[in-house]
Amino acid sequence: MSYLLRRLEFFAITLWAALTVNFLLPRLMPGSPAEAMLVRFHGRVSPQTVKAMEIALGVHSDQNIFQQYFEYLGNTFTGNLGVSLTFFPTSVAKVVMLALPWSLGLVGTATVIAFILGTLVGMLAAWRRGGIFDAILPPVLIIISAFPYFWIALFCLLLFSLTLNWFPLGFAYDLTSSINLSWDFIGQVVSHAFLPALTIVITSIGGWILTMRNTMITTLAEDYVKMARAKGLSPLRIMLQYAGRNAILPNLTGFAMSLGFVISGAILVEIVFNYPGLGFMLLQAVNGEDFALMQALFLLITVAVLVAVLIADVLTAWLDPRTREAT
């Protein structure tokens, strides 16, 4: 119980610290939203127009920085995220919802697949020491995960989309479709998401396989595993329920963090495959000095990662009583 309380306290303080950093970060950048507007509008906007726009957009603040800070904290907790500058006049909440499902869907699913596949292969590699899985796969995978992501993505795009025409050239679904829940639409989503997901899995699976393999090997040397083998339990059962279950624990935190970071999108995926997502939106927000959108996205990422880590910590503590003593 005290462990849980300590973790919650940690969570709260880290959240507050991250929120404060998120508040300061946009304000530390050079230029101003007014100038960003001037640039974007390409017009002969007069100073009066700029001033009026600033007021309309709520950018020109008469409050000092502390007042703004407290207002920011208050707004965050009541869910008032403001209006986006880059996507004016759409509210930040609505803008984020344009891309959030796609980031969660694509990157989230790909990460989960990579983790599950990676963990299984890692377990297998550790179980069958000396076999093909163990001797050849890890070094090969190390090399593959050292390739820059966009490089692999570009080649996949070139090969599978442009040359072979097996997959569409980008976007999340066919251009003329509207978003609905028909089988046809779902089919489109899957076919458009296949290549981006494939590239994410290829580049990240290596890490999961290796970490799982190494923890598994160490676990397999433990006494209780030897005991299980001596008892004559089936290899599959030992691999999954005895060794695997314990070997996976150290990786849970890492996996949780990856899931949290899913929300930050995968900007390179979005650029190469022209996929709607939060990564590119964040870049746009930063470039457009869109404080409201930036803060909302930072907040989303921070909360997602912290919640994920908290859940992982709690899960680990529940599954492995030993960790409750540590720290």
Binding site: P30, G31, S32, A34, E35, A36, M37, L38, V39, R40, F41, H42, G43, R44, V45, S46, P47, Q48, T49, V50, K51, A52, M53, I55, A56, V83, S84, T86, F87, F88, P89, T90, K94, V95, L98, A99, L157, L162, L169, G170, F171, A172, Y173, L175, T176, S177, S178, I179, E270, I271, V272, F273, N274, Y275, P276, F280, M281, Q284, N287, E289
Partner: protein
């Protein structure tokens, strides 16, 4: 008076001619139908907002849903009456009267009238946030006269403002907008306009426009649907175009002959008409850049041909020192003045100019004068504009031979514009942030007229180098007071002479309208031989004119 009526008659004829089709022919057989896809990198997702006064989304609604009073071709300055069936300047050029066209309907069936025009302009007056063209900086009133006339009164004669007022302001329906609680903040998700298309569907990744069967130019448009997808970056957009999935592009495409044309030699074309200049700006308040001789040395020391070839792959022609883009505005260029000054890449001429000004090469090969001023500068540019970076490499290389050292500083977009607008730079590379116009006046004015600038540290909308020359300011004012074409040409000649003599900026290359098109399924495209509109999908409202000319061939 007579001349104006003659002009009005000509204008009417022009409308008739353009409505019936262009010299590209074949419009008699043009049938309604076809789906066109536009390829223009927009950077991300559509938020499905279509307010024509929202600078971020003008490209999605201006021309398509909302139309101007008079269409003024950006390349040729040819005026075509649009929502106005005629217009007339008063003799003192202080009053402009438009006649609202009859027989025009809004897409919800209501009639268009002069009331809508008056309402639109007064709406902008009431809400300065909507005044994207700063028209109320020169207008004093807009009122209705009679049943169908709109009278605009100016505080002082401002003839060049015809372009922003007549061509760039979108007319919106009074019966819809007067009921809006917040015209600035309303996203206008269901736009009602007079234009050739209505909104079919909008998703975050694509907008579908559908043909307006009740469009006032009967029989037009031919296209049934137009798709406008959202691209995050140039590369996916270019790939889409090259793969033939879009037919009309407005992109910078590298190695365009191999990348795009080679994919379908019979049908893929491109044309890049110059519309403005990409200049090397001098901070004329800082020594030694305040010295005219130094600036002239730059003008002789930059190899503009190489810059165009190596930096822009030859897509952007080299700039000329008059500041008037060629060949688009050739009729305005004073060839005798150009030959008199003879600006070209000439290392010895540049060096001798500097030497006469008291500079000598120091031990590291950099020119220095007795006061200790070294000709060594930073030039700011935008990170990500790879062609500008490549051009600046050429510029730096050529200037090095003269003894001028230039170091390139890539800044983030915000940082760059912050420094550019507030004058916090030695040298800056780039074009004017404001749009060009249908004659060289607009760009030249925003480059040199000190009325457009501000003190160092304040935000300037033009003349970033803080160049001050009262004589040239007066010339610009005189231009603004006359509708006489001969007088206008003469004034531009005098202004060019100042550009050639004082060199407030060095136009290195000319900015172009990126334009690619495929004749595989569609015809009616603007070409160099038939520039009936500025051809890029981001030229507003010219893109509407293109859209209503296009028709399906298969």
């Amino acid at each position: 008076m007579r001349r104006n009526r003659f002009l009005a008659a000509m204008a009417a004829l022009v409308v008739l001619a353009s409505a019936c089709g262009t010299s590209s022919g074949g419009n008699a057989q043009a049938k309604v139908g076809g789906t066109l896809t536009i390829d223009n990198e927009s950077g991300g997702l559509w938020s499905c907002a279509f307010n024509p006064f929202n600078g971020s989304v003008t490209g999605l609604s201006v021309g398509i849903f909302y139309e101007p009073l008079v269409y003024d071709n950006l390349l040729t300055d040819k005026k075509t009456n649009w929502l106005a069936s005629g217009y007339e300047w008063s003799p003192d050029n202080k009053t402009l009267t438009f006649t609202a066209r009859s027989g025009v309907k809004w897409s919800d069936g209501q009639d268009f009238s002069a009331d809508d025009v008056v309402y639109t302009f007064n709406l902008i007056k009431q809400h300065p946030e909507l005044d994207l063209q700063s028209v109320w900086s020169v207008l004093s009133s807009v009122t209705k006269s009679g049943t169908d006339k709109v009278v605009m009164a100016f505080a002082n004669s401002a003839v060049p403002y015809f372009f922003p007022i007549a061509d760039q302001v979108s007319i919106v329906p009074q019966h819809i907008w007067s009921a809006l609680k917040d015209p600035v903040g309303d996203s206008i998700a269901n736009p009602i306009g007079t234009g050739p298309f209505t909104l079919g569907q909008c998703t975050p990744q694509n907008i579908t426009y559908t043909r307006n069967a009740n469009y006032w130019q009967h029989g037009l448009p031919y296209l049934q649907t137009v798709n406008y997808p959202a691209f995050t970056d140039n590369d996916p957009a270019n790939q889409f175009l090259a793969a033939g999935q879009a037919q009309w592009g407005g992109q910078y495409i590298p190695s365009i002959d191999t990348y795009y044309v080679a994919k379908d030699r019979a049908h893929n074309h491109y044309w890049f008409p110059p519309i403005d200049n990409i200049d090397l700006w001098f901070n004329t308040t800082k020594a030694p850049l305040d010295n005219k001789a130094v600036r002239q040395a730059f003008a002789f020391g930059i190899d503009r041909n190489q810059a165009s070839q190596k930096g822009e792959s030859g897509y952007e022609p080299p700039g000329n020192q008059t500041g008037v883009p060629s060949p688009t505005f050739d009729s305005w260029i004073d060839q005798s003045a150009v030959s008199k000054y003879g600006y070209k890449f000439d290392v010895s001429k540049a060096t001798s100019l500097l030497q006469s000004a008291g500079f000598t090469k120091n031990s590291s090969g950099v020119m220095q004068d007795s006061a200790g001023h070294k000709l060594s500068f930073n030039v700011i540019t935008i990170a990500g504009y790879t062609d500008w970076d490549a051009t600046l490499q050429v510029v730096a290389d050529s200037l090095k031979q003269v003894g001028i050292q230039v170091k390139v500083q890539d800044l983030s977009s915000n940082d760059y514009f912050d420094k550019l607008f507030s004058g916090k730079f030695d040298l800056a590379y780039g074009s004017l942030n404001t749009q060009p116009g249908p004659s060289p006046y607009y760009e030249l004015r925003n480059t040199m007229d000190s009325a457009t600038t501000a003190a160092i540290g304040q935000t300037a909308s033009g003349d970033y180098g803080r160049y001050k020359n009262p004589a040239v300011d007066a010339l610009f004012d005189q231009f603004g007071a006359t509708t006489d074409s001969n007088k206008q040409h003469d004034l531009i000649k005098q202004i060019q002479a100042v550009m050639l003599e004082d060199v407030p900026v060095v136009p290195v290359t000319e900015g172009v309208a990126w334009y690619e098109w495929s004749t595989k399924d569609f015809a009616g495209w603007p070409t160099q031989q038939d520039p009936y509109a500025a051809p890029a999908p981001w030229n507003l409202p010219d893109m509407e004119v293109v859209l209503i000319h296009l028709y399906k061939t298969s």
